[in-house]
């Protein structure tokens, strides 16, 4: 084994993974360096989480091989991965809320005495030891539903430590954490690194990455587009590779909005914690902004920044703690979706399958359901209107009476937009307007939104994609941890500025610079 190979503890070689409709990973090779913080970056849907799920045994690769310490390995289940010393802390925390801390740390691998009985004292002792190692001693008998997100994360890390993890994968560990919690996580990571644990770290947050990372790998659309040690990496290097320099969409110059009347005035919108799960997180703080007629306003932010919450509260799907919404000069009560629709505010939700489509109904019915009023369904009117919209939006379907599930993602998205248009909106809200949509449909949807704006509708969209935000928005608000952190007009938008404003500022003094000891 030569010296270079010795530095690599884990290697994923030429991994491909295909999901129905998309190639999530295309011959991806990832090298994980021993006793380093290996950072993996990429926009949503770039394939980061898929790759990590393959390393952790949650999913299997279609092709490619994994090597641990230079020897090929097969990982078919999380259990096998853990046995090899590879553990993952998932993006969506997988703590069992109804069990206590000790029970969670040992879930699925409980120590026993007399062959069948749980060995609670051992569990408690080892749990306490793992938590102490993480400098976060907690009462191990506390039910985890009562823990803050940061503490739940610590519980998961404690679990991997007790399993004897040599490679610890953290999938966007800070996306839901408060700044203090994130800071203490960084200290934990430093301790772990010192004690010989290799870390694979996935995150969007630039500030922290540049301080934490030793090696950087950037994924875009399922391919590795950059791999370099810290010393060669700058913020520009990362942003360029993440956003890509694909040909910008050919767009006509946007008409000037000077003199356009104000459509929406939102003042001091705040949300309380939505549930016990978000006990310490307030998703929205005092967000204020205006929107003019015919304006396309973008909201850019990372996962968990509060974009969805903002749109949902405007659309009446969440109850505001306080704040006021004024539409066309009239104070609007948006305590329910029906209220919001009365004022002309409608939302195209982020998750089509969960919050949008009704799979049992046909394309036509899915469009027309937006306009159903009164006692009877007027089939003739409904049909005519739905057909007109389907045609206008270029919904590609053999027959509008086919089930909506027969459509591609892009056409399903158009169906949802058509449904919103049935309600004659004054303000159209779109959460991730082109998520899971192919390139052609994406351009079509962007053009459609511009056309709608030209007709006088206000468009407010949220996106975590820099490219889309840049291409579509007349003006951008950047949300960061529930607050507006920056505002850019169309000609001020740059990748770098957007990204910087969206990354929460961590107290960098508190993160010791680890100095990349490079090969």
């Amino acid at each position: 084994m030569n010296e270079a190979a010795d530095k690599i503890i884990l290697e994923a070689r030429a991994i491909s993974k295909r999901y129905p409709g998309t190639l999530a990973l295309d011959e991806v090779t990832l090298r994980v360096y021993r006793n380093r913080v290996n950072v993996l970056m990429g926009e949503n849907g770039a394939g980061k989480s898929t790759l990590m799920r393959i390393l952790a045994g949650v999913e299997n690769a279609d092709t490619g091989e994994l090597l641990l310490d230079g020897a090929p390995i097969r990982i078919r289940s999380p259990r096998e991965a853990a046995a090899l010393g590879i553990s993952i802390v998932h993006q969506e925390l997988s703590v069992l809320p109804n069990l206590d801390i000790g029970e969670n740390i040992f879930a699925g691998r409980e120590p026993v005495k007399a062959a069948i009985f749980l060995d609670r004292p051992t569990e408690d002792l080892r749990s306490a030891q793992a938590l102490t190692r993480l400098r976060k001693p907690m009462n191990v008998r506390i039910r985890s539903a009562q823990l803050s997100l940061g503490c739940r994360q610590i519980v998961e890390i404690a679990r991997t430590l007790d399993q004897g993890a040599r490679v610890l994968i953290l999938d966007e560990p800070t996306s839901a954490l408060s700044t203090t919690e994130a800071d203490s996580l960084f200290a934990v990571m430093q301790d772990l690194k010192r004690s010989g644990v290799t870390i694979v770290y996935i995150s969007h947050r630039l500030h922290e990455l540049l301080h934490l990372g030793d090696w950087f790998t950037v994924l875009r659309s399922g391919c590795v587009v950059g791999h370099a040690p810290r010393i060669e990496v700058s913020r520009n290097w990362i942003v360029e590779r993440m956003s890509g320099r694909r040909a910008a969409e050919a767009t006509e110059p946007r008409p000037s909005l000077a003199g356009a009347p104000t459509l929406l005035e939102a003042a001091a919108l705040s949300l309380g914690p939505a549930g016990a799960d978000e006990a310490f997180q307030s998703p929205l703080h005092d967000v204020s902004f205006n929107l003019r007629r015919s304006e396309i306003l973008g909201i850019y932010g990372l996962l968990g920044a509060g974009k969805t919450e903002l749109l949902e509260s405007l659309a009446g799907a969440r109850r505001l703690l306080h704040g006021s919404v004024v539409v066309k000069g009239v104070r609007a009560r948006v305590s329910s979706v029906a209220d919001a629709a009365k004022h002309g505010i409608v939302l195209v939700p982020e998750d089509r399958q969960r919050d949008g489509l009704i799979p049992e109904l046909s394309i036509r019915e899915n469009i027309a359901i937006g306009a159903l009023r009164g006692m009877w369904i007027s089939r003739a009117r409904q049909t005519a209107e739905a057909s007109r919209l389907a045609k206008e939006l270029n919904v590609v379907a053999a027959d509008l009476d086919l089930p909506v599930t027969s459509l591609s993602g892009g056409n399903q998205q158009k169906v949802l937009i058509a449904r919103c248009l049935m309600r004659n909106p004054a303000l159209l809200l779109l959460d991730e307007p082109t998520r899971g949509v192919d390139v052609v449909a994406k351009t079509e949807i962007h053009d459609l939104l511009r056309r709608l704006a030209a007709q006088g509708i206000g468009i407010l969209f949220a996106s975590a994609e820099i490219e889309e935000t840049r291409a579509l928005a007349d003006r951008v608000l950047v949300l960061c941890q529930g607050r507006i952190s920056a505002e850019f007009s169309r000609n001020e938008i740059t990748d770098d500025a957007l990204f910087a404003a969206a990354s929460p500022v961590v107290n960098t003094e508190s993160i010791p610079f680890w100095g990349a000891q490079l090969p």
Binding site: V58, S77, P78, R79, A82, H90, S94, V95, L96, P97, N98, L99, E103, A107, G108, R109, E110, V112, I116, F117, L118, Q146, S148, R159, P273, G275, A276, A279, F280
Partner: protein, 360 residues
Amino acid sequence: MTSAARTQHPSNRVAQLAVRSLLFVLRARAAFVLIALLVLFSALAPSFLTANNLAILSKHVAISAILAMGMTFVVLTGGIDLSVGSLAGLGGMVAGFLLTQGIVLAGAVRYPPVAVVIVATLAVCLVVGFLNGWLVARAGVAPFIATLGTLYIARGAALLISEGRTFPNLAGQAARGNTGFPLLGQSSFLRIPLPVWIMLALFALAWTIAVKTPLGRHVYAVGGNERAARLAGIQVSRVKVFAYLVSSLCAGLVGLIIASQLEAAHPATGESFELNAIAAVVLGGTSLMGGRGSISGSLLGAFVIGVLSDGLVMLGVSEFWQMVIKGTVIVLAVAVDQLQTRLQGSFLLRLQSADGEGRG
């Protein structure tokens, strides 16, 4: 007194104490309701607390408690088992058939001994339980539908065995070497009926499994968050199959006990028992969403339902009113459960934020 406590306003502490005690009452509500019912009925019906009556009562309770304890495992995983009543009927009919008709072996009719009859009956029930578990865990059928299906299948099978007739005279004949079956439901030990002993033994076993073994904890984990449980390496399918097996085993036992008590097997035995069992489980504080609840709670729940129905009978309340009252109690129990969850959640939240302020 800690510094955090000192910084709190006294009235705040009083309010906290009030909420805490209210939460305690809500959590232990099955026990409180049981005590209240016992006091009420013994005051209204003087014969209620006699040894004789309590023996009858405990036998009734044993039936629904055994079913409820089995059902608890299923409900804890987030499922439901509607087939237990039918399965009890099927179990009784299998036992009745073997005791009275025997089996044809090598051209001659043989009568298996009682022990074999019991084992064979339980085995048949376990097969149905495995089918339930397989349908839910492997085939992905919703528990409600899967067990609704086996409810009909088991009831149909029970009717088919005798073409709808009753098997009488299960006492067996000395000449056939299959006497002794009635002992199961009718004998007593230390003046306590055998079914009650069975219930107690099952309780000890079920409680131990639920609280003291990895398997039991996996049951809670699966009900708490199935995805997370799978990611933790828990074999979710196996855990679910186990739960349905336990439930069906309990159903088989109940079928045997009833057939033994009556010395007859009737194919309609156990109709709507599943609803009683679910009611007991819910009354005992187990969440139908899974992950939360206890075996002892279900035992208490079974006592509440048993005492309630027997007490109402003794008071001469009409059967129709009994149903109305029972239904009301069940609905109230679930409503109170929701109240408790919400109260607990908001209380914890406030405690945490108060905690945070104290620290800051």
